[in-house]
Structure formats: C-alpha cells, structure tokens
C-alpha cells in the first residue's frame, strides 16, 4: 500500500512556477488530476495555458522532477491534455485578482 497522497503530489508540483505569469501551476489551475497507484507510480494529468507554449516540454519535465523528489515515489508520468481547455475560471482567486480577471482594467 502506497502512503503518498494526492495532496503531497499537488504540494510538490506547487514548487513549479510559470515564469511568464509568476504563479505556480497548481494555483494557475493547470493540474487536472494526480493519480497515485498502489505501486506508488504517479500519473499527473495537466494542461497548459496556451497550445503554442514554447516551454511545453520544459514545464512537463519540471513537473516530473518535482514529483520524483517525493520520498518513495515510483515511476512518474505526466500527460498533457487539451480537453477541457484551460480558462481563467480554473485559477485560484489570488491569481485572478493579481491578473485583474475579476477587477477593472485601464483599457
């Protein structure tokens, strides 16, 4: 029986920050699921804020490395999906507030 929890996986991924917006991937709402198997293998299902992201491969690599730092973790797989497409409503309130998505804009 594996003792790693989904929360631990999310916590590990929250160390990965998108350098363009300055928020971590969890609070951006980009992590859709983290499946922890009995063997402690982990599958992360995530998306990106845009399909043309030039950091696509690096971000998935950072997510894998972050999860691999959890003690006792097995094989880590990261799957990027485009459905459902990400939108700002998936982000945490602090992200929305900082980006101005819930507030007013000058233009």
């Amino acid at each position: 029986m594996c003792s790693i929890t989904k929360e631990q996986v999310y916590e590990a991924i929250s160390t990965v920050i998108d350098p363009e917006v300055g928020f971590n991937l969890v609070e951006m709402g980009l992590i859709y699921d983290a499946i922890v198997e009995e063997s402690c293998n982990v599958k992360v299902v995530m998306t990106l804020s845009t399909r043309g992201c030039p950091l696509h491969q690096m971000i998935t690599q950072w997510v894998r490395e972050a999860v691999e730092r959890i003690d006792g973790v097995g094989v880590v797989e990261v799957e990027v999906v485009w459905e459902p497409a990400w939108n700002i409503s998936m982000a945490a309130d602090n992200v929305k507030a900082a980006l101005g998505a819930g507030g007013t804009a000058m233009w």
Binding site: V16, P19, V21, G52, P54, H56, M58, L99, G103, W107
Partner: protein
Amino acid sequence: MFSISKEYAPPFEMIAPFFKVGTFFYLAGVIFLLFLDPGSSYTDMHIVGWAHWFLLGFVMMIIFGAMAQLVPVVVEVGHFSVDLYLIIWPLLMAGTMIMSAGFVFAPGILPYGGVLVLVAMVIFLYDTTMTLKKVQYISLTVKTVAAANLFLLSGIITGFVMSLAIGEGISVDINKWLSVHAVLVLGGYVTLTIIGLSLILLPMFGLSHGFNETPINRAFKLMIAGVLGYFFSALVGIEWGNYLSLVVMFVAVGFYLQQIVVIYKTRARKENDIWAKSMFFGYGSLFAALALGALWFLTGAERLLLDAAWFLIMGFFTFLINGHLYKIIPFLVWFKRYSPLVGKERVPMLHEMYPKKEAEYEFIFSALGVAIAGIGILFGSATLFKAGVSFLIVGAGFMFYSVVWMINYGKDKE
C-alpha cells in the same frame, strides 16, 4: 499534441544579433528622420532610402529574428535548418546599408545592395519553405505563412528589378512597379505575417481563450485576395482593379481590428504592462492609418497617404515590434541562462528581466513622437514634424538601452 523541444529552439547567440542590429537600425533610422522633409513625395529618393533602411534594417531584421523562434510554434514543426539564420542577418545588414546609401548618394551601388538583400531573403524563404514541407496538418496559419512567403519572394524580385532600373538604367516603369512592390512586401508579407503572429501571441500573453476566429479568417482571405488583385491588375493595367483591391485590403484590416477587439474582450490578464500599452498604441495607430488611408482614397491628397504610411510604419509596426521585444528577449535570455537552474535556485520571473523605468520612458517619448510628427505631416509643418522626431529619438535611445540591458541580464550565470 505538440511541444517545442529544446532542440527546436534556436540558440540565443544565433538570434541575439537580429535584435541588436535591428534596434541599432531603429535608433539610426529615427535620427535620419531629422534630415527628411515631411512635404516630400513618396518617390523622393531620400524618403525611399530611409524607408528601406527602416523597413529592411529594423522591421524585417526583427521579424526574421522573431521567426527563428516562432516558426516552430506557429507551424508546429522544427526548422529545416536553423543554422541558416547565422548568415541571414549579416547579409541583410550589409545589403540594407548599401541599398540605402545607393538611394541617397550613389544609385550605381544599389544593385549590389539589392543582391545581398535578395540572397538573405531567399535563404530565409528556403528555410521556411523546407520547414513548411514537413508540416502534416495544413492549418489556416500554415497556409497564411506560405502565402506571405510567396508575396515576399514576388516583392523582393520586383524590388530587385527596380534597383537594376535605378542603378543600371534597364527599362522598367518604376512608378507602376513601386506601388506593386510596396503592396506585395508591406501588405502581402509584413501585414499578413503580423496578422498571423498576433493570432498566436496576443492570446498567449493576454491569456485569451474561447474566442471566435471568424473575423481573422476573413482578414486573411481578403488580404490575400487584395494583394493578388492588386498585383494582377497592375500587371494587365486595370486601374479600377487596383482601387478595388485597395478597398478589399482596407476591409481586411477592418476585420483584423475586429478580431483584436474580440481577443481583447476575452483576455484574462488585465494588467497594463509595457507590452499591453505598446499593443494599445500600436492598434490605435493602425486605426488612424486606416482612417487616413480612407480619406486619401476619397480625396487623392498625397499628404494623407504619407501620414497613413507614417502611422502604419512608426505607430503600428514599430510599437508591435518594440512591445514584443520586452517579451521575446527576456524569454530567450531566461531560457538560456535560467531554465537549467529551475528547482535548484530562485530564478527570476520574465517581468523582472526588462528595465521598467526605461521601458516606460521609451513608450511615452515614442508615443508622443509618433503623434506629434504625424500631426506635423498632416499639416505640412516641418517644425512640428522635427519636434515629434526629437521625442522619437529619445524614445529610441531608451529602447536601445533596454535591449542591451535585457540581453545582458544574468550574464554572470554563464
């Protein structure tokens, strides 16, 4: 599913010269404006020389550098041979300098500059064409890139023939082909490329999602139809066909502006950083150029055409390019110097990697300069024009400083 792998991304050293050289041409180009008479005809050799300095040395140089990075993102395959970019910028730089000097001082050297520019562009087109051949899914963006490249090829061939006419005296109707050359390069390549790239970049930086793309699809098709219509009308000498094609291009730009409003309305990121402000001013200038162009169309007053070209080149092209440099250069620098350090030490965010105060000054001085000089051209006031140019020079100085600052950020990490 597609990703840009690290091997697709061109090395920073390969692209940095495009931005350094391009910004130098920009700074020198706005200084040269002091020596131009705003009342000149668009066929005046000083105006033509300046236009080639600015459009080839700044606009095309930066577009080519950006395309080295963006082609894989846009068409979703890696470059055919990214190493070719190593020789594009020196050829384009030398060719542009010789051509501009040829227009102003010595027409005899014009074809020599022209051939260097021609070779630089053919190399660029060769890499892009071979890259497009690897694409499996032919999207509208891929078709647009292909069409834009064909227009560029046609545009540079007509330009080269004209350089032979001016430099070597071969018999060509320059007045007729000058407008075709301008429509092919500015409408067919630069505008079409900017339309295509903005469909990728504006939603990426503004975090816009789920918007309707019908207006931009119409803009693409109408712009292609307009450019082709103008080319063939000129070829067979149908004057009304040229006017009709211009109207079609105007409508295309109108649809493009409609798309920008749609993207703007759906953006999640509402902070007004230097990029956002530059986009706002750039699109405002495009609207002004469109309005002035429509007035020229109705009245035939050449000053209106020159002012429309001013807002198109100095307001729209320049602000879109400069605004994106504050995004593209920090990204390239970050990718090279900081991406290997992620997870090992604190790495800077991209918004920390440009000088905010100087960028702000660049925006304010440049925007004031474009507006004041634009009014000067409209009313034929050389004093007002030169006052505006003085603001532009200060703005360009801050731009040059900012580009050097961004390129040198974190150099100690190497």
